[in-house]
């Protein structure tokens, strides 16, 4: 009997020929990423660490520091990387949301294991990496020991066929999955099929990022030509990709004809069993629109937003916040003129940070407001008041809706 993508990686990293569902394995972790919040909350300087070359520190959630507590965390982070010789330190100014920094610096490699505090670490599954969030204590432990455990979960395989229409993005594919099949708690997601050829790397990362939103463990894509080309653009390090065996065993195989999809919108609260095609969504006036986060602050997302807003204007009464996923994305968007286009259209472009996505230090929504977001989560209270409603859609749907002042099908506005 064969193994799935994730079983292959976890078997190899735990030094076994094969693993099966239910097994608990202890694996060598190839790369571990600490984030700023860790230093501001649970930090203690360790006596020793496993390997500074398998560690990165990224300032992302609360930058530039909005409070003394966060500023003190920065002080501790800088002292730590200095003391232990951690070269991969992405301090404010060369920072970004860790999942963007991981992608742009080749920290996630096909067939390897990546762990990080943040729950959206599954993003790197786009690069055929077994990547997941572990929480602050466990990531600290991996930093010290270089190892952690995983229990092999059953896998849902998504077999993609057909060609993705231009207006449909990774966000729409993901919302279709969440709306159709619901939660995948204690399961992995694996993607494959000929249809992947029409799904670019940025869309794959959106999908992999949001695996956490259906409660999945790992979400992985194959290291096909597109993926391999992307990774090689960002690193010279050798890797060994993990392909699933033809006779791998899946909990379910689910088919999606990409050519049949349209833009999707998730209603407030959760995405699972709560997302519908935009043609079925109620017309809601929006107060705030957001394009950003690890899921949708990529350069391609800013390009989509800028193209949608060129020679148009954000509707009166609407705030459109755009947050590049990293300082590199910010600079590239500046050079390409996207930031000027967005600002001319009435959008606010912020510095790179997790920011409005997690309702901590900027771009919060008040009671009674409606927000349409292209970010990661639509939980009650996620972006501010628990009495605000957070809908979720793709960057183009969010941009078009910001222009219309209500949730719309982007195909109606952008003609």
């Amino acid at each position: 009997m064969g193994m799935t993508m994730i079983e292959k990686i976890l078997a190899r990293s735990s030094g076994q020929d094969r693993v099966k569902v239910g097994d608990v394995v202890v694996c060598d972790v190839d790369m571990t990423v600490l984030i700023d919040l860790q230093f501001a909350t649970t930090w203690m300087t360790p006596t020793r660490i496993a390997d500074p070359e398998r560690l990165a520190v990224v300032m992302d959630h609360a930058v530039p520091a909005p409070s003394v507590k966060d500023a003190d965390g920065g002080v501790k982070a800088r002292a730590f990387v200095e003391q232990f010789g951690v070269r991969r330190f992405f301090d404010v100014g060369r920072h970004g949301i860790c999942h963007e920094v991981i992608a742009q610096n080749g920290l996630a490699l096909p067939g390897q294991i990546l762990t990080c505090t943040d729950s959206h670490t599954c993003a790197a599954g786009a690069y055929n990496t077994a990547a997941r969030g572990l929480g602050p204590v466990e990531v600290y432990s991996v930093m010290c020991t270089g190892k952690t455990w995983f229990q092999i979960a059953p896998t849902y395989r998504y077999e993609l066929t057909g060609e993705k229409p231009d207006v449909v993005s990774g966000k729409d594919i993901f919302l279709h999955i969440a709306g159709t099949w619901g939660d995948a708690t204690n399961h992995n997601l694996e993607f494959g099929g000929d249809g992947l050829r029409s799904v670019p790397m940025n869309d794959r990362r959106t999908i992999a990022t949001q695996g956490a939103e259906v409660s999945a463990d790992f979400t992985t894509f194959p290291a096909d030509e597109l993926c391999t080309e992307f990774v090689k653009q960002h690193t010279d390090t050798e890797f060994e990709a993990a392909d699933p065996d033809p006779d791998a065993i899946y909990a379910d195989v689910r088919h999606i004809d990409l050519s049949s999809l349209e833009p999707y919108v998730a209603r407030p609260g959760k995405v699972s069993d709560n997302a519908v095609p935009v043609s079925q969504i109620e017309s809601r006036t929006v107060n705030q629109c957001f394009i950003g986060s690890c899921a949708n602050g990529q350069i391609e997302d800013l390009q989509i937003a800028a193209e949608a807003l060129r020679d148009r204007h954000v509707a009166p009464g609407v705030r459109l916040i755009v947050t590049p996923a990293s300082q590199d994305v910010y600079r590239e968007a500046a050079h390409r003129g996207y930031l000027a286009t967005l600002a001319d259209a009435g959008a606010i472009v912020t510095n790179s940070t997790c920011g409005a996505c997690f309702g901590y230090h900027m771009g919060l929504v008040g009671a009674g407001e409606v927000c349409l977001t292209a970010s990661t989560r639509n939980f009650t209270g996620r972006m501010g008041s628990p009495d605000a409603e957070i809908y979720m859609a793709s960057p183009v749907t969010v941009a078009a809706s910001a222009v219309a002042g209500r949730i719309v099908d982007p195909r109606e506005v952008l003609v």
Partner: protein
């Protein structure tokens, strides 16, 4: 860690997410202060009712969401254990790693009602309701994972192995 825990149950529904338990605004506060906002929107005032030794019971997909250390807030409130029909895996890991006992017991929200006195065997994942004589068995943690819990979580293990200077705790 105590393997048999007796306490009063507080029962919650399905898909209770991390932002319900550790909202963004509370992340600015000390853990002691943040703990006063657990379930702030779902059940306002609950943190005044919960007593040390109580047990939180929830439905499916408990703890979906972020890596923020909710377990530490429950510990500040004195919550002795979490039992759910099903846990999000990141949330479960966070609890185990902080040394907060957890048990997955399908059907538990149908057996147990709010403020019922229950008896939980953490190792065997068995919950009993002395009032009715009812009991349910779930899926025990893998031994490897149970051992982390039994040691008091990962910080305790790291301290024992000399990775953290003696006497220092986050």
């Amino acid at each position: 860690m105590q393997d048999i825990i007796e306490g009063k149950a507080w029962v919650f529904g399905d898909s209770v997410d991390t932002d319900n338990m550790y909202p963004g605004f509370a992340m600015k506060l000390s853990p002691e202060e943040a703990a006063k906002h657990v379930f702030y929107d779902l059940r306002p005032g609950w943190t005044d009712q919960v007593q040390p030794g109580d047990i939180v019971v929830a439905g499916r997909n408990f703890g979906i969401g972020s890596s923020r250390p909710v377990a530490r807030l429950f510990q500040h409130l004195g919550v002795a254990a979490l039992v759910a029909e099903e846990f999000n895996s990141l949330f479960l890991r966070n609890c185990v790693n902080f040394g907060l006992p957890v048990a997955t017991i399908p059907g538990v929200t149908r057996l147990v009602g709010d403020e019922d006195e229950v008896r939980l065997n953490v190792h065997d994942a068995i919950i009993e309701l002395p009032r009715t004589g009812g009991a349910l068995a779930g899926a025990p943690l893998p031994e490897y994972v149970y051992d982390i819990l039994a040691q008091g979580g990962l910080f305790a293990k790291l301290a024992a192995d000399g990775y953290i200077p003696a006497g220092v705790r986050a």
